[in-house]
């Protein structure tokens, strides 16, 4: 849409202003404008040896030069635990929806995470629209960047295409003390109103170069278009027993995955039993009881079957449904798996090497 630039200092003071603003905001889209709320501003910060997305207390905390965050930004749109409804226990007349997110800005979202958000957007808007997720998305501005630091498990270049641009409102590229600012949406443009934006003197080629600066060590070992069919044919591959035998069913791989969104719903009440809420929490298909029914049948009782399901969801089911590979190649699952088995690259390689 538009390509401008801003100095890093100006950018930082601008987001700090947004963060602390108390006057009514001209926000993106109808849902935000008129709110007298400040922008909750989320950015990448350091936590011990790792990076995480967290609310910024100051723009100075931002670390845009990072390898990967522990959890993906999905936690802001599908929180690990959120209240869907409130009620008075045992009084069905009292059910009321809870859904009024304030505006948030996410700064420094890597392109693969944006691709994942695009996929989540599809999942939560298509069919029955999930207002809880969608309102949060509508009330958010996503400011993306291209990875600038190597991460040994990343393989995003072999699986994502341009879809990340469908989620991003703004893309940044850091260059010589400046950010090149690519404004992709009206929302992004509104957000940046009042920022010290200057004419751009960089070429598109510069952006391209920056976007592709970091080369991945890993890649999906076959053309992704062929993956669904490959998986379809290998439902009974020895890989499932092999990996199932090593898997702890700990769900680390799912919790850190930006394209996993399975959830559980349950009721919580106050100790007085006078008020309660229906909450949604993250759940995971890798956990043993995930498919256990009330009458005690477990439809995915085996570790291998659960492991296979996760891989199929990424490489086949989501791919076929949305037209984009269901894994964005962030490598988080590979990096967080204690057993060292969760990465799709590793799994596909094993399958190719061990033709059943």
């Amino acid at each position: 849409m538009e390509i401008l630039k801003i100095s890093k200092e100006d950018f930082n003071s601008f987001i700090d202003e947004k963060r602390t603003a108390s006057a009514p905001l001209e926000g993106p889209g109808d849902s935000i404008s008129g709110h007298a709320e400040k922008w909750k501003t989320i950015g990448v910060v350091k936590k011990g040896a790792n990076f995480v997305f967290a609310e910024l207390n100051s723009a100075a905390e931002l670390c845009l030069d990072y390898d990967v965050t522990v959890l993906p930004p999905k936690k802001y749109f599908l929180p690990p635990k959120e209240t869907l409804l409130k009620f008075i226990p045992k009084k069905a007349e009292s059910y009321a929806a809870v859904n009024h997110p304030g505006p948030i800005a996410l700064i420094g979202v890597h392109h693969y995470d944006l691709a994942a958000i695009h996929l989540m957007d599809r999942a939560f808007s298509e069919g029955e629209r999930d207002e809880h997720y969608m309102k949060r998305r509508e009330n958010s501005v996503l400011i993306g960047i291209y990875p600038t630091k190597h991460y040994k498990y990343r393989f995003s270049s072999s699986v994502i295409r341009g879809q990340f641009r469908k989620a991003a409102d703004i893309m940044l590229v850091a260059m010589n003390g400046f950010f090149v600012v690519e404004i992709l949406t009206e929302k992004g443009k509104n957000y940046l109103q009042g920022a010290e934006l200057q004419e751009n003197d960089f070429s598109l080629a510069d952006i391209e170069a920056a976007a592709n600066k970091i080369k991945d060590d890993q890649k999906i070992p076959l053309p992704i278009e062929l993956v669904p069919e490959f998986l379809e044919k290998n439902h009974d591959h020895s890989a499932w027993d092999y990996f199932g035998g090593k898997c702890f069913s700990c769900a680390s791989c799912v919790l850190v995955c930006p394209t996993c969104y399975c959830f559980d719903v349950r009721d919580e009440v106050d100790l007085t039993l006078e008020a309660g809420k229906r909450v949604r929490t993250w759940d995971s298909c890798m956990l043993e009881d995930f498919a256990l029914t009330g009458e005690g049948f477990n439809f995915r009782a085996g570790r291998g079957a659960r492991f296979r399901h996760r891989i199929y969801r990424k490489g086949k089911h989501l791919f076929e449904k949305y037209g984009y590979f269901g894994c964005v190649g962030c490598g988080r699952c590979a990096g967080s798996c204690t057993a060292g088995i969760a990465g799709p690259v590793k799994v596909l390689k094993y399958m190719l090497e061990h033709k059943q």
Partner: protein
């Protein structure tokens, strides 16, 4: 609820740290005291009652006399909840059972007086080795939130079901750095979650104080141990601290 359920708290051999967690509920314990009728709780009140709707049992059993007292409580209770790892598995008190025999144990502590009758003891038993237990609240100590949650579930007539997934889930949600990344052997992948991964979050390996998940993948653990040059015995010894046997499915939920 028509009339408030009569609730009692009892303790056997233990450090009473779990009932302290109940006391640590602060203002909430006053709310709790309005929701239920606390009829017996020796540590904080004077009073006794003939029967209970819910009896919370803390501690493990180490003597015949305590065994009888426990059976008597069971007979007078509709629901019996074992809370704290001492009650659930025998907990730390079972370390005693790892020693060659009770005589040696007694001698170690009481020396020449070890033979005196009032010092008698037998190998530590968990509560469900003696009476039927309806619900378990594991942990050393119990997690206050989980205790309250169980109480609420019972008040609502629900069946409290403990998390059946490993501590790693709690860890990931807190975005802790995994201890294996620092070559620290953590029992988290086998241990039952629900503690909020307090130990890894504080830089210390999980030692499975809440027992294991129903179906821990011990083969996977064996492989990891080999990778880090540990023996199975060394790990089993870690599980011994809280009397958890990853080889035996406890069936405790």
């Amino acid at each position: 609820m028509s009339s408030k359920p009569k609730v009692a708290f009892f303790d056997f051999a233990c450090c009473e740290g779990c009932q302290l967690q109940v006391a640590n509920l602060e203002e909430e314990i006053l709310v709790l005291a309005q929701m239920v009728d606390v009829v017996e709780f020796r540590e904080v009140m004077t009073g006794a009652a003939p029967a209970y709707d819910i009896a919370f049992i803390e501690g493990s059993i180490t003597r015949r006399a305590d065994e009888n007292r426990l059976k008597d409580i069971r007979n007078r209770s509709k629901l019996l909840v074992a809370y704290g790892q001492c009650a659930v598995s025998g907990g730390i008190n079972k370390l005693k059972n790892r020693r060659p025999g009770m005589d040696e144990v007694k001698k170690e502590v009481y020396g020449d007086s070890a033979g005196m009758p009032h010092l008698d003891t037998y190998p530590t038993k968990a509560i469900d080795e003696i009476v039927a237990v309806d619900f378990y609240i594991p942990g050393c100590p119990v997690n206050r939130e989980e205790f309250l949650w169980v109480v609420k579930e019972l008040l609502l007539g629900k069946t409290p079901r403990l998390p059946n997934y490993p501590v790693c889930v709690n860890c990931k949600l807190q975005e802790n750095a995994c201890l294996f990344d620092f070559s620290i052997i953590c029992l988290g992948p086998l241990a039952r979650a629900g503690c909020g991964a307090v130990c890894p979050a504080n830089g210390v390996a999980c030692c499975a104080c809440r027992g294991t998940v129903d179906n821990p993948n011990k083969n996977a653990m064996h492989e990891i141990l080999l990778k880090y040059n540990y023996t199975v015995e060394e790990i089993k010894k870690k599980f011994d601290i809280f009397a958890v046997d990853p080889e035996v499915q406890s069936g405790k939920k």
